[in-house]
């Protein structure tokens, strides 16, 4: 057999039928639901008198709209409670496992899916959310879908896909201090643009990826969609297997050995070819921060904000002008030293234990700067409990951070956690769109380390400041 890529192997093992127009019917091993994109799917299903085909392969949580208040109940923004209750009702009516408020396993879909080993190497996993590719870090083929497709999968346990092309992004070299997974992926998006990988399944590879922890790898796969790709994945390795062993839904006993043998066959074969290849040397990167209202509008923290005239493409030039106007910055300015009013450490990009540890190392023994409101929102109840077990909550709370319950929180601003108009926020999340964190909110995307440093200094830090903070 010709050498195959990781993507091709998973595709081949899930292909059910070829449809018209280059589309395919593909079996879905794991379907994950949340309260915002599923109610209309259940309504459609019930209206057509159809059943959920495989409730035992379907999992649900309440995460997007829930309050992250420590004393939370179902009460959240107006209308939100109805959505939470609808998720509960739908899960119950169809025999679907729900990780609800009050359950330590509740959390952001993309955080709990790997943590509970719902996602596994070589499985296909779909969810009504564009950051579903996060779990590609385990070697799963995972992609985001709309509500109609949620309904389709509920009814058939299959999805309809156009076969994507394949792209390999190789991160080589050793990352300098304060440069990590978030900087890798932001640098890629800055380089290829928000549509640079549209139509591709991206395989991330290279020594710099191998060196990352499994949780850090999820940060890279998470933002694939910000480069236009629905799927981003990585070869599963021993780190992944060690991460999974013993987790709630991981295979056990003989099944584990069987699975492991299969998983070891998944990495791309030597000589497998890709439709596109990109290489990034991480040893050349500095901490990345977005300056505009699209994730591609990102630079190294010590670089000057580009002049709109430097973009040849008139559409991108106008976008840059518009972004600078919205974000309140001028060409040539530097991000380092810019004052912030909000700091958000959380979201499916950076709310796992590894992220909280990295931030806590900077925060330990310091105070949140005057005039700054800083939030830490763990990605799941499990992350929250693990962080508390090692005292991270104390570090954050002693510094003046709010230590919240798990949910999407200020990433989407769907619940009450918002950034005010004109306020500047450094956020570990994945989108800096106009109004994403609240109308008029100015978002700068960065790593947990950068967010922590901004919290304690009140400003976006450069490398020298980071050095001081960590000594």
């Amino acid at each position: 057999m010709a050498p195959r890529t990781l993507f091709q192997k998973i595709w081949d093992d899930h292909h059910v039928a070829e449809l018209e127009g280059g589309r395919h019917l593909v079996a879905v091993d794991r379907h994950v639901l949340h309260e915002v994109t599923s109610p209309q799917a259940f309504a459609g299903l019930e209206k057509a008198g159809r059943a959920v085909r495989h409730p035992e392969l379907t999992f649900a949580t309440n995460d997007h709209i829930v309050s992250t208040d420590v004393a939370r109940t179902d009460a959240t923004v107006p209308g939100g409670e109805t959505m939470i209750k609808a998720m509960r009702r739908n899960a119950h009516a169809h025999g679907i496992q729900l990780f609800d408020l009050g359950d330590v396993r509740q959390g952001i879909v993309h955080v709990i899916a790997p943590e509970l080993a719902i996602a596994l190497p070589g499985v296909t996993l779909a969810c009504g959310d564009s950051h579903t590719s996060t779990v590609g870090a385990l070697g799963a083929l995972a992609w985001g879908i709309g509500t109609s497709e949620v309904e389709h999968i509920l009814a058939t346990q299959c999805a309809i896909l156009t076969r994507p092309k394949t792209m390999r992004v190789t991160f080589s070299g050793t990352a300098p201090a304060f440069v990590g997974a978030k900087d890798f992926i932001l640098a890629l998006i800055a380089r290829i643009g928000t549509a640079g990988a549209t139509g591709y399944a991206v395989e991330y590879a290279g020594e710099a990826i191998a060196a990352l922890s499994v949780e850090e790898r999820m940060t890279v796969c998470n933002m694939s969609v910000e480069a236009g790709a629905r799927m981003g994945l990585m070869a599963p390795d021993e780190k992944v297997f060690a991460y999974l062993q013993g987790r709630a839904y991981a295979p056990k006993g003989e099944a584990w050995n069987h699975a492991l043998a299969y998983w070891r066959t998944l990495p791309s074969d030597p000589g497998a070819t890709y439709d596109a290849q990109i290489a990034i040397d991480v040893s050349q990167l500095s901490p990345q921060v977005s300056w505009g209202t699209s994730p591609e509008q990102t630079i190294g923290v010590e670089d000057a904000i580009p002049h709109p005239d430097s973009f040849d493409d008139p559409v991108r030039r106008r976008a840059a002008e518009r972004a600078l106007d919205y974000i309140g910055l001028r060409p040539g300015e530097r991000l380092a030293g810019l004052a912030v009013q909000k700091v958000f450490i959380g979201s499916c990009t950076n709310s796992r234990l590894a992220d909280l540890r990295a931030a806590a190392r900077i925060v330990a023994g310091r105070k949140v700067a005057d005039g700054v409101r800083a939030l830490v929102v763990p990605g799941s109840g499990t992350v929250r409990a693990a962080a508390e077990a090692e005292g991270l909550d104390r570090i954050f709370r002693d510094a003046g951070f709010e230590w919240r319950h798990a949910g999407c929180s200020m990433c989407a601003g769907l619940n009450a956690d918002k950034v005010g108009a004109g306020e500047r926020c450094i956020a570990t999340s994945n989108r800096n769109f106009e109004g994403r964190q609240g109308p008029g909110a100015r978002t700068h995307l960065a790593s947990p380390v950068m967010a922590a440093a901004a919290a304690v200094t009140g400003r976006i830090a450069d490398r020298r400041m980071l050095q001081e903070l960590s000594s």
Binding site: V16, A17, L57, G79, S130, T198, A250, V315
Partner: protein, 207 residues
């Protein structure tokens, strides 16, 4: 959809911006709903209304005749960002039936077809020219001819658009994708049976 839709014809509103994301198309406050209806009021609400709720008079969809538009002409990478299908529902509820743009984000593109909404891809230059025509000759209808795969407008504008023939047929005839897939149930079941033997561990982790 019960009625055939061989063409989409109507006023086209120019909005030639790049990377119009789904957070802009339907800001999140409007997602707090368990139904698909009534989202048109929230379409582009942060561009249509000021912070106090006042109408921003010069935004294209607030102006005559474009407030009655059936077609939106946009910049590249339309519909990027969140997977929310609400973006398509909001465009439809407002009265729009198609977006013409040089490129679309993947999830939006798929969501559109599932609702009988047409994402029409034309070249960058054609999109720019069509936006200019929509601006200058607002009352002349733009026609998206789904049968022939062409977009026509004033000033003799006539260009081919890129869309697979089966996709065009789905838009014309209407589509019951779930129904069609359920007809393949025997194949799906055969796949599962074989797969259970090959990868039993996938099926052990049951809730």
């Amino acid at each position: 959809m019960s009625q055939r839709q061989p063409r989409i014809e109507g006023i086209a509103a120019p909005l030639p911006r790049a990377n119009i994301d789904t957070d802009q198309i339907i800001p999140k406050v409007h997602l707090i709903s368990v139904t698909r209806d009534g989202l048109g009021d929230g379409l582009f609400s942060e561009w249509r209304y000021g912070p106090g709720g006042g109408v921003i008079a010069d935004f294209v969809l607030n102006r005559d005749p474009w407030r009655r538009a059936a077609i939106l002409v946009a910049g590249p990478n339309f519909g990027c960002g969140s997977s929310r299908e609400h973006a398509v529902w909001a465009l439809q509820d407002f009265g729009l039936r198609a977006v013409v743009a040089p490129s679309f984000a993947s999830i939006f593109y798929e969501n559109a077809f599932k609702n009988g909404f047409a994402p029409v891809i034309v070249g960058e230059a054609d999109a720019a020219r069509l936006a200019a025509i929509a601006q200058d000759f607002p009352l002349d209808p733009v026609v998206i001819d789904l049968e022939r795969g062409r977009v026509r407008a004033a000033e003799g504008f006539d260009c081919a658009f890129e869309m697979d023939a089966s996709r065009r047929r789905d838009l014309i005839e209407g589509l019951d994708e779930i129904g069609a897939s359920l007809l393949l149930s025997p194949r799906i079941e055969a796949f599962r049976e074989a797969d259970r033997l090959r990868r039993p561990w996938v099926y052990r982790a049951t809730g």
